[in-house]
């Protein structure tokens, strides 16, 4: 289906939970509330017209004002691809794990926890694995993280 067909189909099927973001990119980008993530993920996987069976990645973002978690999903069978994200506040940032929908989300969620500190409920194994073994300096990708040998690019 074309991009517009996809957008209209998703907006009709998930009326309240989805909001379309205008990014100007080729693939649609939707905004979801954090509590609807698991249900939405399961629905798009099971939907016969979408069949999104491939989770490309889960990324964390720190915009300076809030956290975001971006899910990029694709379908091997229908060749559709789109992204959706949630916005989380800095305090008590938590999302539900989507491992039951796509088992490959295990490591992505572990990475999001490790680098941002966003807690993932029902994950089962939130331990450090990308950073060095003796890492004790917190969650490095946050905007307010600092370390003695860490230098930010100076403003021009």
């Amino acid at each position: 289906m074309t991009r517009d067909e996809l957008v209209t189909y998703i907006q009709d099927t998930f009326k309240d939970t989805v909001g379309l973001l205008e990014t100007g990119r080729a693939e649609p980008f939707f905004m979801i509330k954090p509590e609807d993530i698991l249900e939405f993920s399961r629905a798009i996987k099971d939907d016969p017209k979408l069949r999104m069976d491939w989770l490309n990645c889960i990324s964390g973002v720190d915009t300076g004002e809030h956290f975001e978690v971006v899910y990029t999903v694709a379908s091997v069978q229908t060749k559709i691809r789109f992204d959706y994200k949630t916005v989380l506040a800095y305090d008590n940032a938590e999302i539900e794990s989507v491992q039951s929908v796509w088992p490959g989300a295990n490591w992505h969620e572990r990475e999001v926890w490790e680098l941002y500190g966003i807690n993932v409920k029902n994950h089962g194994n939130l331990t450090r694995f990308l950073l060095p073994d003796d890492w004790d300096q917190g969650h490095p990708m946050r905007k307010d993280w600092d370390a003695p040998d860490f230098k930010r690019m100076p403003e021009k």
């Binding site: 060095p132 490095p140 990708m141 040998d149 230098k151 930010r152 690019m153 100076p154």
Partner: protein
């Protein structure tokens, strides 16, 4: 090794002994410089340039340099690629497991001083001389094979200047 360490000192006391010492210096250092076996240590993009330099157009073998996979049989470690904080203890152990005389060439911007990862990186060790002592620095991102060859020739010149008195 205990006997040979004292030989240059005693040799130079004999009249004409320093001729022997300098000839032996020349022989040993020339042989060491003409046959530097480097360890295949490539972590990132510079490894591709290392492989290209070892391939047919910019050959390493004509300088006597062949690759060895294990530090036990190599004289030189060319750190080709970014060294992260997680990799640093492993690199130190690999350097420790090389037999003397051993040399290090820091290839590429990341190993010289952080390179493109100097700003805004939490995981990169900014400069491989925080971990192991370096003999030659080759800047570039990645350095062209000609650059790497010039660095190896500079290392050969450095080895040829060594004297028996300085052996550890």
């Amino acid at each position: 090794m205990g006997i040979v360490k004292k030989v240059p000192v005693y040799l130079e006391k004999i009249p004409g002994g320093s001729f022997v010492t300098t000839t032996l210096d020349y022989v040993f250092s020339q042989s060491r410089a003409s046959s530097i076996w480097y360890m295949l240590f490539g972590t990132a993009c510079c490894a591709i340039e290392l492989m290209a330099t070892g391939a047919s157009r910019y050959d390493f073998d004509r300088f006597g340099m062949i690759y060895r996979s294990t530090p036990r049989q190599s004289d030189l470690i060319i750190t080709a690629g970014t060294i992260t904080k997680k990799m640093a203890p492993r690199l130190k152990l690999l350097y420790d497991q090389m037999a003397e005389p051993r040399y290090v060439i820091a290839m590429g911007g990341c190993t010289v001083g952080g390179g493109p990862f100097y700003y805004d990186s939490y995981a990169v060790e900014k400069g491989v001389d925080h971990i192991i002592p370096v003999d030659i620095y080759i800047p570039g991102c990645p350095p062209r094979p000609e650059s790497l060859l010039e660095g190896c020739l500079a290392l050969q010149k450095k080895i040829k200047r060594e004297k028996m008195n300085d052996w550890s």
